[in-house]
């Protein structure tokens, strides 16, 4: 167990190093420079560009820039090129905005996908199963931005509530209840949209896992000895089918930072995804690289946690 932890930590650190190198190379070898973003701007005199290049070490060779950048990132000193604010502070603020979306989306995904998947598996081949299958393919195939517009049209036309942004502007002096309802309405659509693909994929996965277990011998035995079907389904089958999903708790971690670019742009939600998108537009390399780095770290931690959980819940596995 300890040797497994040690080996995988070392392996993941090496992986992370290469991710750092590759993302740095991609950003810096691409044509165009941040100092050339706005060549027509009269404020950008050649002296300004020169000072800018010096301030951010852009005149140094690439490997020196690499060392400088990650030294600054680890000591928390990296600043955005656009407004000179510390990157970590900016990411922290935007992260807090994205967090409610992530939490509500995850809750929706996990609470809806399991009942749908389990019921499809139990009523295999029936009307419910076939329509659930079709709907999950539909949700999986629909372009997110198109679905967003359909939902916006529906909600705005039916309930006459504003949905764009995090809250309605100029809503200061109304009752607490109105304010909370306003926030809920604004939160609802983006989180539903963020959860659609998750629900579609996870419910299919739950269904196939459940079918796999239902065809095992011990389930047939349980049925043959005359147990009521609820007990067979929920006690014998479901408990074993749930095993792989415990490990998936680790894999939802990267979703923390991967706030959807498209959905946050449509709803003008000032979250992580939108910040990353704005950073790309402004060629704000420190933010792009930091977001990339943090999300790579989260992916690695997530896989690590899921490996560990797998060992804990399934005694048959010794890594």
């Amino acid at each position: 167990m300890l040797s497994f932890i040690g080996r995988s930590v070392i392996q993941k650190i090496i992986t992370l190093f290469f991710v750092m190198v590759i993302s740095f190379l991609i950003i810096h070898l691409a044509p165009g420079e941040p100092s050339q973003v706005d060549p027509l701007n009269p404020k950008f005199t050649p002296e300004m560009v020169e000072r800018f290049r010096e301030a951010f070490h852009l005149d140094k060779p690439l490997h020196v820039q690499f060392v400088y950048f990650y030294r600054d990132l680890f000591t928390g000193k990296t600043v955005s090129w656009k407004d000179n604010e510390p990157v970590l502070k900016k990411i922290g603020e935007r992260f807090l905005n994205s967090l409610p979306l992530f939490i509500v989306g995850t809750i929706l995904t996990w609470t809806l996908a399991f009942p749908i998947g389990i019921r499809s598996a139990i009523a295999r081949g029936g009307v419910y199963d076939r329509s659930a299958t079709f709907v999950s393919y539909l949700l999986y195939s629909i372009p997110g931005f198109f679905f967003a517009y359909i939902l916006i049209l529906l909600v705005v036309n039916t309930f006459h509530v504003p949905v764009i942004g995090m809250k309605t502007f100029g809503f200061g002096d109304v009752s607490v209840l109105r304010t909370i309802m306003d926030r809920v309405w604004h939160l609802l659509l983006p989180s539903v949209l963020g959860a659609t693909v998750g629900i579609a994929v996870l419910s299919r996965y739950v269904r196939s896992q459940m079918l796999e277990v239902e065809s095992q011998d011990y389930v047939r035995t349980a049925r043959a000895k005359g147990l009521p079907s609820e007990q067979v389904h929920y006690k014998h089958a479901l408990r074993n089918a749930l095993l792989p999903f415990v490990t998936m708790f680790g894999l939802i971690l990267p979703g923390l930072i991967g706030g959807s670019v498209i959905i946050e742009s449509i709803f003008s939600w000032p979250g992580m995804g939108r910040m990353a998108y704005e950073a790309i537009l402004a060629r704000d390399y420190p933010i792009i690289l930091s977001v990339n780095f943090i999300s790579a770290v989260l992916v690695l931690i997530g896989t690590f946690i899921s490996d560990l959980l797998y060992m804990v819940v399934d005694p048959r596995i010794h890594l």
């Binding site: 392996q11 290469f18 931005f145 198109f146 517009y149 065809s215 670019v261 977001v291």
Partner: protein, 390 residues
């Protein structure tokens, strides 16, 4: 005795070992027909291909049959199926069909022509991107699965790094150091050939041991590369690269292809690892067939089932990614119309001209759904283990 055996085989009553009653295609059709969703997916898939080909033929050239770029400002935002006001138009501006089948957009361009062109662009992006991904995946997976146990030797790493550094420095404009690295690399390569010959003859000095030291295995190398690629947030990475590179359709295809080969690599590797233990591979080796021929002629065809499935679903997701990029304004640049940028342009008029949002939106939805349904059907058919259960 000889005549006896001849009679035996001519006698129809006695059945010798015979080939399966139905061919592979017949079996495929029989299984596919049971899955009605997959059949519907296949039909839409084929229709989409014809529409895309038709779109290429009918909308390109100097005088296309349907001109997607014809601007008629006096006819903007006409709803679908509306007739053109012929008195306001010059003869060449009248739409070919006599009506605006799918309406016009905010510049008075015929949405039907633009959708036709967009079908071609979307399908090209989908197929080329997935083609690139599958090609990389098969080569990487093939190497990892077949040569995986071999180890990379120190001299190979040394020569590669020297050559790469030399080329990189030359490109960066540092000529002297670049040439120096290149010379070191080429000498290294020549020396390792020399040494290898000496090695085969059995003359081994302690220094050679260091130079030829085994490092990691090829399998580890490739699978770690896959792990590294899986760490990147894919859509964000694609968006970054596409935004930094000059806007072009080819860049988008290449970038999508280069970021989505990991699944194929894993499938192919897993299949090859089990195939290489089988008798027909041993037989081919015993016959002296070359390694590459064994991989690509004998093993890869047997490993194609999961690749086909993931390619079909990959096309669907490539079309979705392209539409998403177009929506954010980083997609295929004008004058090409794609379904994503028709929708993206039309969203400003969602209340006045909802068809500009809904026509491309439903088109993308239907095509992607068809690819996904057909892909899933294919998975059920090609995987005998799943067959009975569903």
């Amino acid at each position: 005795m000889k005549t006896d055996s001849k009679n035996l085989f001519q006698n129809k009553d006695i059945e010798g070992p015979s080939a399966p009653q139905e061919s592979r295609w017949q079996e495929f059709w029989r299984l596919l027909r049971r899955n009605r969703l997959a059949v519907a997916g296949l039909i839409i898939f084929v229709c989409f291909l014809f529409i895309a080909l038709g779109g290429l033929v009918l909308t390109s050239g100097t005088r296309p049959v349907f001109d997607p770029a014809m601007v008629r400002l006096q006819e903007k935002l006409r709803p679908p199926l509306s007739a053109p006001r012929v008195e306001d138009l010059r003869p060449e501006e009248i739409p070919t069909l006599g009506i605006y089948l799918l309406g016009t957009d905010d510049l008075g361009r015929d949405v039907f022509s633009r959708m036709l062109q967009g079908a071609w662009v979307s399908s090209t992006v989908g197929f080329v991107a997935v083609g690139i991904a599958v090609l990389i995946g098969i080569v990487m997976g093939g190497i990892a699965g077949y040569f995986g146990q071999n180890h990379v030797r120190f001299n190979q790493i040394f020569v590669t790094i020297a050559l790469l550094a030399g080329a990189g420095l030359l490109m960066a404009g540092i000529i002297v150091l670049g040439i120096a690295f290149l010379v070191v690399g080429i000498t290294g390569a020549a020396l390792s050939r020399q040494w290898k010959r000496g090695l085969l003859k059995g003359r081994l000095k302690p220094w050679d041991k260091v130079f030829f030291a085994r490092t990691i295995s090829i399998d580890t190398l490739i699978m770690r590369l896959v792990d590294i690629m899986l760490c990147f947030p894919v859509f964000f990475l694609i968006l970054t690269v596409v935004a930094l590179l000059p806007a072009s359709m080819y860049n988008i295809m290449i970038v999508i292809g280069l970021t989505s080969w990991m699944g194929t690599t894993r499938f192919v590797r897993a299949e090859l690892l089990s195939l290489r233990e089988q008798d027909f591979v041993t037989a081919a080796k015993a016959l002296g067939v070359k390694d590459w021929r064994i991989i690509f002629r004998h093993m890869i065809p047997n490993a194609m089932a999961p690749v086909l499935v993931s390619a079909t679903i990959g096309i669907a997701s490539a079309i979705l990614i392209e539409a998403g990029l177009s929506f954010l304004g980083f997609g295929v640049p004008p004058p090409h119309a794609t379904w994503g940028n028709i929708l993206s342009d039309g969203k400003r008029f969602i209340f006045d001209a909802p068809w500009l949002t809904f026509i491309p939106g439903f088109a993308i939805l239907i095509v992607v759904l068809a690819f996904n349904l057909f892909g899933e059907g294919l998975r059920d058919i090609l995987n005998p283990k799943l067959r009975e259960r569903y």
